[in-house]
């Protein structure tokens, strides 16, 4: 059944695109809309991105109705990223990841969504364009801008320390 099969990726997309705790509701609504519009689904088109576009729409409606920027702050899973014990390398790597997550969180909304689609949901540029309902060129330019903004957090550690003062 489609719902069972696509719930997980749809939920992940909704959550990471900003639906937060309401991701389940967003996904449920998206499925209902998808089924109601099933007659408009084009044969041969992958169902996943089509559904994700509806999910992204619903998420946008939700965050818009909250009247604030996508309320989500991405977090790292697992033990506290600032864990102090363990080998130095691991501590540094954890700090680095935490820094990167913070940098992604600080990105402008549009750029962050593109990064979420491209790298966290593992969509192609074309799929990202479809899901976010924007031209392919915008996906490319936003990815480029976002990666450049993140460059400071992504550079080797020493330079990161210098640039972050």
């Amino acid at each position: 059944m489609l719902v069972a099969r696509y719930t997980l990726p749809a939920h992940r997309a909704a959550f990471l695109l900003g639906a937060g705790e309401e991701a389940d509701d967003v996904v449920q609504e998206a499925f209902v809309k998808a089924f109601r519009h099933l007659s408009r689904f084009r044969a041969g088109e992958p169902f996943g991105p089509w559904l994700l576009r509806i999910v992204a729409n619903e998420t946008r409606n939700l965050t818009r109705s909250r009247r604030r920027r996508a309320a989500l702050v991405l977090r790292l899973a697992g033990p506290d990223a600032t864990v102090q014990d363990g080998p130095v390398d691991e501590v540094l790597a954890a700090e680095r990841r935490a820094g990167l997550v913070a940098a992604v969180n600080a990105l402008p909304d549009r750029e962050r969504k593109v990064l979420v689609c491209r790298y966290f949901l593992d969509l192609s540029e074309a799929e990202t364009a479809q899901v976010l309902a924007c031209p392919l060129g915008s996906v490319k330019s936003r990815t480029w801008r976002a990666l450049n903004r993140l460059r400071g957090s992504l550079l080797p550690d020493e330079q990161t320390r210098i640039s972050s003062g």
């Binding site: 059944m1 719930t7 389940d24 992604v104």
Partner: protein
């Protein structure tokens, strides 16, 4: 970004690695909730939804695995599937080269209740597709991802239009022996955006163009553009002005519309390269 800097590749790799570490809360099984909501809406919906609808026959040309899953759904969605606003129940649906053809019951040929563009209107000119831009043929070729075919039998087009972010190219020929002729070409394999036709099946004949399956549709019928996500028809429906031939190549779906007969249309189509 042809020559990617090393830092860029590293950055992308690092972000992908980060994806595995992000916290995403668990989800619950939504199957029952979704089904319940669909049933509730169907039950409380307009009476039209409860009107008897014979089960549509589906033909899925591609993507069998995903569509097998969809077929399961068809039973669930059959109540709500036939609900374009203000239209009669659709009794037959099939798809061809990205074009969906539906038989519409209960109203006269080529007429759409409440949405008719009106007789005598030059529909081709008056209803632009989303983001339609006029440009030269050479420019159009640079803008789209598929080879643009030009029918040698008609020569160079009077106008070339590119629409919807390069997904559609339209060649317009003014003042031909067959009146105004229009050839639309869609990125058929890459993007799935198309025209939906509401026709009487008795007016549709299966033919071939250079060995590819084709459909010949006689007489005016309603034509509406459906954007890629399938959820927005940005242009209003229009009535076609003449007869239409639909066919496909590996890279594009094509439609040729004009006031010509079947043999002329086939000859024009065969000359497209």
């Amino acid at each position: 970004m042809a020559d990617r800097a090393p830092w860029l590749a590293a950055a992308e790799a690092e972000l992908r690695a980060l994806a595995r570490e992000l916290e995403v809360p668990p989800t619950r099984d939504l199957t029952a909730a979704v089904r319940q909501q669909l049933e509730d809406r169907a039950a409380s919906g307009r009476p039209r939804w409860r009107a008897p609808v014979s089960r549509p026959r589906w033909r899925w040309p591609r993507g069998r695995a995903a569509l097998a899953a969809l077929a399961v759904l068809a039973a669930l969605a059959v109540v709500v599937i036939a609900t374009p606003q203000g239209r009669a129940a659709i009794s037959y649906v099939f798809r061809f080269g990205g074009v969906e053809i539906r038989q519409d019951q209960g109203h006269s040929r080529g007429q759409s209740p409440g949405q008719s563009p009106g007789p005598g209107r030059s529909a081709t000119a008056s209803v632009p597709l989303p983001g339609e831009q006029r440009m030269s043929l050479a420019q159009a070729r640079r803008q789209v991802s598929f080879p643009v075919l030009v029918p040698a039998a008609l020569g160079q087009p009077s106008q070339v239009l590119v629409s919807d972010g390069g997904r559609v190219v339209s060649l317009i020929y003014l003042g031909t022996p067959y009146g105004q002729v229009r050839m639309d070409e869609f990125a058929g394999q890459v993007d799935q955006i198309y025209f939906e036709k509401i026709v009487y099946l008795s007016n549709v004949t299966k033919v071939k163009v250079n060995g590819n399956k084709a459909l010949w549709i006689k007489g005016p019928h309603e034509l509406l553009y459906i954007a890629r996500d399938g959820t927005t028809a940005e242009a209003p429906p229009r009535l076609t002005t003449g007869n239409t031939l639909l066919w496909g190549t590996r890279q594009a779906a094509l439609r040729l519309e004009g006031n010509f007969g079947e043999q002329t249309a086939l000859a024009i189509a065969r000359s497209a390269h």
